[in-house]
Every structure is written in C-alpha cells, then in structure tokens.
C-alpha cells in the first residue's frame, strides 16, 4: 500500500535538522564565549537572536502544522540575521580595521553567520514551495510530540542562557561595543 505521508516525513525531518543545526550554532557561540573567552558584542547578540528566531518559525511548524506564515517568520529572521552579519562584516572589511574574535577555518563568526543565514533563506524558499505539506494537520503521534517538546525545551534553555549571559555581560544598561569583561562580575 502506498503511503502518501512520506513527503511530510521528509519535510518534518528537514525542519528538525534545521532546528538542530541552529542549536549547534548557538552552542558553538557559547563555546567561544566561555572556553575561548570571546565575549559577544551587541551585533553578535543580535545574530544569536536571529538564529533563535529562525528556529522559532520551524518549531511553530512542528507544533501546529506546516503553514506559510511559519515559514515567513523563519525567512524574515534569516534576512534579519543576514543584515546584522553584513553590517558587522562591513565594519571590518576595510584593511587595517581589524576583526572581532578569532577566525574559524579562515572565516570569522559573523562571516559564517551570513553564510548560514543565506543557506537558510535558500532552503526555506525551496521548502515553502512544496504545497502538499500544508494539507497535513499537526502530527499527533506520541513519540513525535516528545521530540517537539524536547526541541522546545532546548530552545527555552538556550534563550534563558542568553538572557543570563547578557545580564552578566551588560548589566541593565547599554552593552559595550567592544566588551572585555562581565560587568556584573567586576563591579
């Protein structure tokens, strides 16, 4: 018997993979922050926000079923992340102006951020065009619900971790453009 749900299966898997990818990006940012002592600048924080927002749209797809409005959230967030990354690249593109943070595989984190944002824009634009996924209601299988709740829990954890990090880094005032220490630590 032919299963007509297989196409939905691949789209769900694609959504989950993109969310996991975003989580890896954010965990890597924390690794750079805590292990290599590279504090995030305001633009870096905005890029982190953009990645969280990208995952938010995909999570809505998994929780409430596939809808173009959820993909539009992801697209808008990816465009936002790309713009912020481009702004940061523009700040350092002139020779002699230096760079922020260390390079990974020859590229700085904000350059990787732009590349990932563009890849997400392309992949979501393709996914958005697959009409059949919109016929399906939210998946109600128990095992699937556990996966969705686990993804939500990870995203909430990453968001709270970012909030705590920002409070320690900036306090309750303007974040410094070039942070060197945690303000709440060294008062």
């Amino acid at each position: 018997m032919k299963k007509n749900t297989s196409i939905f299966y691949y789209e769900r898997i694609t959504n989950v993979m993109e969310i996991v990818g975003v989580c890896i990006v954010l965990l890597f940012a924390f690794l750079m922050q805590f292990v290599f002592k590279e504090l995030p600048c305001p633009l870096c924080l905005l890029q982190r926000f953009g990645f969280l927002a990208i995952a938010f749209g995909l999570l809505l797809n998994l929780r409430f079923g596939f809808r173009p409005s959820h993909y539009s959230i992801t697209l808008l967030s990816a465009i936002f992340t790309g713009f912020v990354a481009m702004r940061q690249i523009a700040l350092h593109v002139i020779p002699g102006t230096g760079a922020y943070g260390s390079a990974i595989l020859g590229l700085h984190l904000y350059t990787w951020s732009l590349i990932i944002a563009v890849l997400i824009i392309i992949s979501i634009s393709i996914l958005l065009g697959v009409d059949r996924q919109y016929l399906e209601k939210a998946h109600k299988k128990k095992a699937w619900e556990y996966i969705v709740h686990a993804l939500f829990a990870v995203m909430v954890f990453l968001t709270v971790a970012n909030i705590v990090s920002i409070i320690f880094e900036c306090g309750f005032k303007q974040c410094p453009d070039n942070p060197t220490h945690y303000i709440l630590y060294y008062r």
Binding site: R63, R87, F152, I163, C175
Partner: protein, 52 residues
C-alpha cells in the same frame, strides 16, 4: 538594554507557542522582532534615543 528586552519578549513568545497559544506567540514574537530591529537600526544610525 533593548537587546535584553528583545530576548525576554522572545522567551515569552517561545513559551506561548510551547503551551499551544499560537496566535499570542505570533504577536509576541512580532514585538520582539521589532524591538531587535530597532536596536539594530540604533546601532547603525545612533539617531534613535534607545540604548543597546
């Protein structure tokens, strides 16, 4: 400060979606995206009277 507020509002949107309130989540998310866009614009222009 505006970045911090954006993250907190985003957390509210995430929690709303987790608890099944889709419409509320979409509205709250839109507010957080507007706030973060404002802080980005402020960073680029330094003309709006909001602090990062």
């Amino acid at each position: 400060m505006l970045i911090l507020i954006s993250f907190i509002v985003f957390l509210l949107a995430l929690m709303s979606a987790w608890f099944g309130k889709r419409d509320k989540a979409m509205i709250v998310f839109t507010i957080s995206l507007i706030l973060s866009t404002l802080s980005f614009i402020h960073h680029m222009t330094n003309t709006i009277g909001l602090s990062l």
